[in-house]
Symmetry: C2
Subunit: 115 residues, 2 copies
């Protein structure tokens, strides 16, 4: 018996497949950090097109895929929109405090850069 | 006037040159995470040869260099030994809570892997 899934469903790691090294790598890019910060500030799912990055569309798609495959975000098709949300519960269960410290550090760094 | 430095002094980023993305990248490798955990547990400087990694000597040297150039560790020659220590104060000043959450997450993951 195989599970029936939508052909448009995207692969995500289960919680117990998420690795710290992979999450840190996903977060180690300025564009991906920006995506995570925007999703955090929105406090809700965002469409890919809601997050403007100064890179090409294919590079943007790549960054979202790295975040999804690492377990940091979930991506779900809703109609024609691909919606993105942080996997806060999974992150907090596996790596307590990590996401908050990364988000806080990113904000502080941005403030330093602008000072 | 140039500052007189030892020819054996190694390059380190100043505190304000340390970048979050670069630190996260440095921590996104299992061997480098292990080095950081061992330095944390030792609570003191360790010689490179005190930390045994299941990789070649040149790869070990590479991992230490990535950690030093990111600002996570300092490396200082003392006599013939190259001693390594965490830059806890710099990490905590720039990225409060980050190092502790990464170290705690690495320990939890190791415990899960062994369960």
């Amino acid at each position: 018996m195989s599970t029936v899934t939508s052909p448009r469903a995207l692969d995500h790691p289960a919680r117990d497949e998420i690795r710290l090294e992979t999450v840190l790598h996903a977060l180690s890019d300025p564009m991906r950090l920006r995506v995570v910060c925007e999703l955090d500030q929105a406090g809700a799912e965002l469409n890919c097109s809601d997050i403007e990055l100064p890179v090409s569309k294919s590079t943007t798609t790549h960054h979202f895929r790295v975040l999804r495959e690492s377990g940091v975000i979930q991506q779900v098709y809703r109609g024609t929109a691909k919606m993105n949300g942080l996997r806060r519960d999974d992150m907090e269960a596996l790596f307590p405090g990590l996401l908050q410290s990364v988000l806080g550090s990113a904000t502080r760094q941005e403030q330093r850069d602008q000072a």
